[in-house]
């Protein structure tokens, strides 16, 4: 094998999807021992490029060299054999298997009767060498998100991968966990591995990157070495224009209490306690941001308020009315808007058109009724008006909405929820997966609602978003509120500590 400077080289790689050129003649070279950050906005082609390198997609054009030899990676197996492994954003683990079983999953060199003890020793050795603390005998469902990520990394190290790709690895981690991950990654790089981190967070680049490649609309617009760039340079390269880091929000005009939770308990999907005694209030004209690491009760919180999940104990009040366990329909009728986490899986009906999607919540109302029939003309007229007012870009009102882009889907969803004039909006990860433009739109709409006197419960895993929009911040940890702070009295570092379960005594405000 010819030794070259690079472990892996991608040359002039292009990949086209219907209607988009996801990668346009991208060059990327990875050195052993470096942490290489792939920076770009959502939809800039970072994940596509790495999926090509991991053998999931095949490039339409371009060449890939591993150790100086040209290769064709037709499947993740090919990639792993070439020493390239990827940790995806959504982990691919079997919950009921142990860590060791997950690590060897798919390894063809395992004998029919695997030697458990030896495999577990091997894994324990790997995890010690790289500082990836996790017990090989524990079942995956018992692990935290951070630990699951370590299992995914171990899986790749176990197969002898020399190039490790991580797709937005910190999205699901607390600041502390992220720091630990970065230490692990540095350890790997020091041992000669090449680590690729996909991200759109600037401070991460500043923290860990040895080199950074910036992607914009499918093109690699820059490749810079550590020390040659500032955060502002990168932001400019990434977006192609100057970024306003701080959005001014008008002062809050806090009104009456709209939503009140009193000592609410609920179960999670797995029958374990999801919420343990949550009490909080949201006032009219106020945004209450709920911070926390995903999986600490955010989903359960959103679902009990919107009536989707039964409350086991405690009560929920909306403008003085008890809405505990009254069912989704009644909650909708009480004027609660809901922007769910899963746009296409819950908030919208992917196979139906825009008109049908816009009446999802009020097709039962008298104004759309004509006996047993739906008033098609009225719903169509109203859909036209909404689409225009909320700037949803589409070509056909009847075409299935699954064809719309993420930003347009979210605008459509907001169009429906906002124009129902809700007294409360529950928004869960409202900008996840959206580009900068759509994100600004969504944030602007939420702030407009706040000015109009709507109470907003904003659940997000992005601290920047929470700080940008919220008037007060509640921190969820293991199903309980561990802190309720005014945004002016705190900072991300403090919130980060609370997210990890550390409970400071002072500073609680009503």
């Amino acid at each position: 094998m010819v030794e070259t400077e690079f472990l892996v080289e991608m040359r002039q790689v292009s990949k086209r999807f219907p209607g988009v050129l996801a990668n346009d003649r991208v060059d990327l070279a990875l050195r052993p021992g470096e942490i290489h950050v792939l920076l770009g906005e959502n939809g800039s082609g970072k994940s596509t490029l790495m999926n090509i390198l991991a053998g999931l997609y095949r490039p339409d054009e371009g060449e890939i060299y591993v150790g100086g030899r040209q290769v064709s990676l037709r499947s993740p197996r090919d990639a792993i054999e070439a020493g390239i492994g990827m940790v995806h954003q959504h982990f691919k683990l079997v919950d009921i298997f142990t860590v060791a079983e997950n690590v060897i999953l798919g390894d063809r060199n395992i004998p029919f009767f695997p030697n458990r003890r030896r495999i577990e020793r091997h894994i324990a050795g790997l995890s010690e060498r790289y500082g990836l603390r996790v017990d090989p005998q524990v079942r995956v469902w018992q692990l935290s998100v951070g630990e699951r990520q370590r299992v995914e990394i171990l899986k790749m190290l176990y197969r002898g991968c020399r190039v490790l790709i991580l797709d937005e690895p910190t999205a699901v981690l607390t600041p502390g966990e992220a720091r630990e991950l970065f230490r692990n990654l540095r350890e790997m790089a020091d041992r000669g591995q090449a680590v690729v981190v996909i991200t759109h967070k600037l401070q991460e680049v500043m923290e860990i990157a040895d080199r950074v490649t910036v992607l914009r609309r499918g093109r690699a617009v820059a490749m810079l070495e550590r020390g040659d760039f500032t955060a502002r340079d990168l932001a400019w390269l990434m977006v192609g224009r100057d970024v306003v880091f701080q959005v001014k929000k008008p002062p809050s005009e806090r009104g009456e209490i709209v939503l009140e939770l009193r000592d609410v308990h609920a179960l999670s999907d797995f029958g374990r306690p999801g919420l343990r005694g949550v009490s909080l209030t949201v006032h009219a004209g106020e945004i209450l941001g709920v911070a926390g690491v995903a999986g600490n009760g955010q989903r359960e919180l959103a679902e009990v308020v919107t009536g989707l999940r039964p409350v086991r104990a405690g009560s929920i009040h909306l403008a003085g009315c008890n809405i505990t366990n009254v069912g989704v329909r009644r909650v909708i009728d009480y004027g609660v808007g809901y922007i769910p986490e899963d746009r296409l899986g819950a908030g919208l009906v992917p196979g139906l058109g825009t008109v049908d999607n816009l009446i999802l919540k009020d097709y039962r109302r008298p104004e759309f009724r004509r006996g047993p029939f739906l008033d098609r003309r009225r719903s169509r007229e109203r859909a036209l008006e909404r689409v225009k007012r909320f700037d949803v870009r589409l070509s056909d009102l009847e075409a299935p909405v699954k064809l719309l882009s993420g930003g347009n889907l979210q605008r459509l969803l907001l169009a429906r929820e906002i124009s129902a004039n809700p007294s409360l909006i529950v928004a869960v990860y409202p900008v996840r997966g959206l580009d900068v433009g759509a994100t600004e739109d969504v944030h602007r709409m939420l702030l407009e609602q706040r000015s109009a006197g709507t109470a907003i419960l904003l659940i997000s895993e992005d601290l920047d978003e929470i700080f940008k929009l919220s008037d007060r911040i509640a921190v969820l940890f293991e199903g309980a509120v561990t802190g309720l702070l005014s945004v002016d009295w705190t900072d991300p570092e403090k919130i980060g500590l609370l997210m990890m379960g550390e409970r400071p005594a002072e500073e609680a405000v009503p």
């Binding site: 054009e61 040209q70 819950a346 009906v349 999802l360 029939f373």
Partner: protein
């Protein structure tokens, strides 16, 4: 690594977002043609001349009054049962029990006909329709209850209930309902003339055709114009969204399976009242199963079901015709299977498209301009 070079295969299969209208017509038609071609290969292997047999089938079905009329006769139960199971499929309820619901409908209608032989037609026929609706409806509702409340898989339960229904009818016609004057044949007595659906002239085409066409129209309107149809479409497309919108999914499961069973029950009723004029074992050669294929071929659109039912009626009749040439009747079942097979394969062409890859850069320039 084995030093594999990139393959220079210039065609790519990629997702196509919107199926082109031409393709949505072309694909089913080509599927049928390809199925016939594949069937021809089988026939050739059995030492017969496929083109001669297809010619016989075609001229037998379309070239004669008998063939055309029989096609309509066969299409009636297929159409009605196809509408019935198709309604359930809309909500992703896999009702494989159309056959059983059809038998129970026929059974209940027969009970009315045999119990009140002396009543006038204005009482008997509506009574038989109502009974068939109850019989089929109950048979559809039974598996829906455990499905709605416990999540019990309806594929298994509906399928099992078919055997119960078929054996129940067997029991009746071999036992208590056997015609004493029937020379020991397993048949019920012939219905009184008042219990028989009117026919078109002296042909075998009966009023069941009107039932089928009306049902198709009603179902179309219900699905696309009413609030209930809207709920069905929402639940069928995304149960998550239905829950989010506060639609009662359990109630809709019960209602849709009930309606699906009622419609399949009516198919049984028109078959005994319009054609057989009595209940006999095996009066349905698997209409309830063929209906599944029909519903899918029609893409669950009630109006398209009419067309596809006629196509399958013709296929069935064609099979009977070539039997006189010593071809086993099961050949038709084989052809039906092949049609479904090719249509499902053709779906890929609707969801994906082949694209020739030359130079991705050139295409970008074209777009940017």
């Amino acid at each position: 690594m084995s030093g594999l070079r990139p393959v220079a295969f210039p065609w790519r299969l990629e997702r196509s977002l919107v199926p082109s209208p031409a393709m949505s017509v072309l694909v089913p038609v080509c599927s049928v043609v390809l199925a016939l071609l594949a069937g021809a290969v089988f026939l050739a292997f059995t030492g017969r001349d496929p083109w001669f047999l297809y010619g016989e089938m075609f001229s037998g079905v379309f070239g004669t009054r008998y063939g055309l009329f029989e096609t309509v006769v066969k299409a009636i139960p297929l159409m009605i049962a196809g509408l019935g199971v198709g309604l359930a499929f809309r909500m992703r309820l896999w009702n494989i029990g159309g056959e059983g619901q059809l038998y129970m409908g026929a059974c209940a209608a027969t009970w009315v006909a045999l119990t009140f032989p002396d009543q006038p037609a204005w009482f008997l026929l509506p009574g038989m329709f109502a009974a068939a609706a109850v019989g089929g409806g109950v048979w559809g509702l039974l598996p829906a209850i455990p499905r709605a409340y416990l999540g019990v898989n309806e594929i298994i339960t509906t399928l099992m209930l078919n055997y119960v229904a078929i054996l129940w009818v067997d029991y009746l016609v071999y036992g208590p309902w056997r015609d004493p004057a029937g020379f020991n044949f397993p048949l019920t007595a012939r219905f009184s003339p008042e219990a028989i659906l009117p026919t078109l002239g002296d042909s075998r085409i009966h009023a069941g055709l009107l039932v089928g066409l009306t049902l198709a129209l009603i179902l179309y309107v219900v699905l696309y114009r009413t609030r209930w149809g809207y709920e069905i479409r929402v639940v069928g497309d995304s149960p998550g969204a239905a829950r989010y919108a506060g639609i009662n999914i359990g109630r809709n499961i019960l209602l849709v399976m009930l309606a699906s069973g009622v419609i399949c029950g009516l198919a049984g009723m028109v078959e005994v009242s319009g054609l057989a004029h009595r209940l006999q074992p095996g009066f349905s050669p698997g209409y309830g199963y063929t209906a599944i294929i029909i519903a899918w071929l029609a893409r669950l659109n009630p109006l398209t079901v009419i067309l596809v039912a006629f196509l399958f009626g013709g296929l069935q009749v064609g099979g009977y015709i070539v039997q006189t040439n010593g071809v086993p009747a099961t050949m038709v079942a084989m052809l039906q299977g092949l049609v479904l097979f090719f249509v499902l394969a053709g779906e890929v062409l609707l969801k994906y498209r082949f694209r020739r890859v030359r130079d991705p850069r050139a295409e970008v320039k074209k777009r940017d301009r």
